[in-house]
């Protein structure tokens, strides 16, 4: 009987949520390509909830952006590229035309680059590929601020150097690089190769096949044997939790184990229990609820308008990522409205807003998000922003804690790689880079 009740409750809540999604539609249409179902849902749910919460907070507190309410419409991609493209096609025309997409998948982003460019709808692929889309001359409708994967790789190495006492101390060090055997996991390898040659360290590559993410014993046995100075991980989904668990099993020093920003959610540390204490990861936003704007989130939850079933989720870095993602979008809408008027703006106008986004420390303070997101300035040429940097967070057993200042990326290493890759893309796709003068 209890079982039946639970089933009915689940179905009822699902129907209720669908109803909310359908009736929330209003002025500034923002389709949300979420992945609340499927194998990657543990990451997708907090991300989607954070994203929705920021927009809902703006609607609740301010009545929208300068009086224009934000209408968020969810479409579940299940993190599958084909479904993501289907969601895009289904939602791009609603309410007068989609404002912007955050595909939350490198695969979906790749699939949408050409379509969205033709449709004149910008993509904010925050924290995902394609890295070389940072070149706004070749990718006018794709943005990937506040930092790309390649910038992240250089910042992680810089952080290790900071811990060791300087870049010169990297010479002779040995790292283990554990990565998903997928274009996403391979993406930073050219950058790491350049860094290894430049600073004199070596690194062993340990690919994890996507179909065997939960079986890494042989990898960690090799790491136990080679005893690297640091382990760096580019993981995803169940791979993260398995790696942290196996690292703890072989008694690898967790403070020497650094994941990238997709290896830094609660899903990476919860399965390993106490063994994961000390594990670190990169992030490009703050974590936790200790920022001023969170008071407005609490007020919204008190009014019964929040997305998370449990507010404890707000300590999950992935909730913070969705929240920060939405904050950037709202600020870009404001920027566009300042030029085009306080009304619903089009995708093309939104691109202008994104390209002219200038978030100063003062503006971030006004948003109540000091320390939560970095200041940045986007230009026509540079869609990554002028200040790519990461923070390093550490798992304390019950919450993540930021343990570093912003660690800047080595732009002198990354910029030529972006130039080279985007030039190749332009030549393969017969694109003449636009002028930004």
């Amino acid at each position: 009987m209890e079982f039946r009740k639970m089933a009915l409750a689940a179905v009822a809540s699902a129907v209720g949520l669908a109803g909310i999604a359908a009736t929330a539609y209003a002025d500034q249409p923002i389709p949300a390509l979420v992945y609340r179902t499927g194998a990657y849902a543990p990451s997708g749910i907090p991300l989607a909830n954070g994203y929705l919460d920021y927009f809902a907070m703006i609607n609740e507190r301010d009545g929208g952006v300068n009086g224009v309410p934000l209408a968020v419409e969810e479409c579940d991609t299940g993190y599958a590229t084909d479904r993501g493209v289907e969601c895009y096609d289904r939602t791009k025309g609603t309410g007068g035309g989609a404002t912007v997409y955050s595909p939350w998948s490198t695969g979906i982003t790749y699939a949408l680059i050409e379509k969205a460019t033709n449709d004149k709808i910008p993509i904010l692929s925050m924290g995902y590929g394609r890295t070389s889309a940072a070149n706004g001359k070749v990718f006018p409708y794709v943005f990937n601020f506040p930092a790309t994967y390649w910038s992240q790789a250089t910042s992680v190495v810089q952080y290790i150097a900071n811990e060791a006492g300087g870049l010169d101390k990297l010479k002779g060090m040995r790292f283990a690089y554990i990565y998903l055997d997928h274009p996403y996991g391979k993406e930073p390898i050219p950058t790491l190769d350049v860094l290894a040659e430049k600073f004199g360290f070596t690194y062993d590559k340990y690919p994890v096949p996507p179909a065997s993410m939960t079986e890494q014993k042989s990898i960690w046995l090799q790491i136990r044997k080679t005893k690297p100075d640091y382990a760096i991980m580019w993981g995803w989904g169940a791979m993260n939790g398995t790696a942290v668990r196996e690292a703890s099993n072989i008694r690898f020093p967790m403070e020497k184990f650094i994941g990238n920003w997709w290896s830094g959610g609660n899903d990476a540390v919860v399965p390993a229990g106490k063994g994961s204490i000390g594990y670190k990861s990169a992030t490009f936003h703050g974590v936790g609820t200790g920022f001023d704007a969170y008071k407005d989130v609490e007020a919204m939850y008190a009014a019964g308008k929040g997305s998370s079933a449990d507010k404890a989720e707000h300590n999950n870095p992935l909730w913070a990522r969705g929240f920060a993602n939405a904050a950037y979008i709202v600020e870009a809408i404001r920027t566009a409205q300042a030029k085009f008027g306080n009304r619903q703006i089009s995708g093309e106008e939104m691109r202008w807003g994104l390209e002219n986004l200038d978030l100063s420390e003062e503006r971030i303070a006004e948003m109540g998000m000091t320390g939560y997101i970095p200041p940045l300035k986007i230009t026509c040429e540079n869609h990554e922003g002028d200040n790519p940097a990461i923070l390093v967070q550490q798992w304390k057993g019950d919450k993540w804690e930021i343990i570093s200042d912003w660690v800047p990326a080595m732009t002198e290493v990354v910029a030529p790689l972006i130039e080279q890759d985007s030039a190749q893309y332009a030549s393969e796709n017969n694109i003449t880079p636009r002028s930004c003068n």
């Binding site: 639970m6 042989s218 989904g237 668990r245 919860v270 399965p271």
Partner: protein, 311 residues
């Protein structure tokens, strides 16, 4: 020349140089193999009794673990949660027999196989609707420390899993050999028609065997879930059981165990000592290569029933 050396010389030199490490890799592989065997066991039970290759076995592992951990989260004691989940898996067996198998009697095996694919997707979605998609940590008191034998490190959790798997196989063997139901199951496995002709009710046998496979799935789910948390990726561990089945035979319980041990140890040793030659991540396909090689020589698997065609 260098390539040949990295295949035929270097790995063996490394093994001789560091025997403790080799032991650790080999033993770790055996323990991983035990976990594969647990999943393979569920496949074998159902195939043996009904000739159905149950594609949903991996999802049954997930479904059982989801119910178990969900009940624990609602404050149900471990022993009671275990019993309730066993009851749920038995109810599932009833439902499968009544709603699926009964309507497909005498259909081609491929039709039954397709039905289990449908069942897999239904169970995955149903489990998600009931219990949500979040990762659920599972703490049932499995030891998490290590032992050292010389320089070789042994995970206590692995040994615990091996003991549980061993106990489960023993219980199943006793059940099959010394109970009336067990004998009926063996009769059905040997010859459906003959079993029916002496009055063994096939439908009841199917329910029992699906229920037993459900309990095996529950045990596998608890052991895997304790390692990784209960999450949807648990369902893909079924893929690790396939080479074990090919190797051990689809109808042999000892075959599932021995096959698991060979695949587990083989893939770990191959990955550690030969993986770098091929760029890493070879264990993914190595297990299937081993299984394929066996297929050439013993298509019925190591312990599978011998295929006899009478003209």
């Amino acid at each position: 020349m260098e390539f040949l050396q990295s295949i035929f010389v270097t790995p063996f030199v490394e093994i001789v140089d560091s025997p403790y490490f080799f032991f650790e890799v080999f033993f770790g592989g055996l323990m991983a193999g035990v976990m594969y065997s647990l999943v393979a066991l569920g496949f074998v039970l159902i195939f043996k009794a009904s000739g159905v290759f149950n594609f949903s076995q991996g999802v049954m592992v997930l479904f059982a673990a989801l119910n178990f951990v969900g009940l624990l989260e609602h404050g149900v004691p471990i022993w009671l949660a275990f019993l309730i989940t066993m009851a749920i898996m038995t109810a599932l067996a009833f439902a499968v027999e009544r709603l699926v198998l009964r309507h497909l009697v005498n259909q081609e095996p491929i039709i039954l196989f397709m039905a289990t694919i449908g069942l897999a997707f239904f169970l995955e979605g149903f489990g998600e609707t009931l219990w949500g998609s979040e990762i659920k940590p599972l703490e049932v008191g499995i030891p998490n420390d290590v032992w050292f034998m010389g320089d070789a490190m042994i995970q206590q959790a692995d040994v615990f899993a091996a003991v549980v798997a061993g106990a489960m196989v023993t219980v199943l063997a006793l059940f099959f050999h010394y109970t009336r139901v067990g004998r009926a199951l063996r009769a059905v496995a040997d010859d459906h028609q003959a079993a029916l002709s002496i009055g063994i009710p096939l439908n009841h046998i199917w329910i029992i065997v699906w229920a037993v496979a459900g309990v095996v799935a529950l045990v596998a789910g608890i052991l895997w879930g304790s390692k990784l948390g209960v999450q949807f990726s648990l369902s893909v561990i079924a893929l690790k059981a396939l080479p074990v089945l090919i190797l051990g035979g689809f109808t042999s319980i000892p075959g599932a165990i021995i096959g698991g041990l060979i695949i587990g140890a083989g893939e770990k040793v191959a990955e550690v000592y030969w993986g770098s030659v091929f760029g890493g991540a070879i264990e993914e396909w190595f297990a299937y290569i081993v299984a394929l090689v066996f297929l050439f020589f013993r298509p019925q698997g190591l312990f599978g029933d011998k295929i006899i065609e009478r003209v």
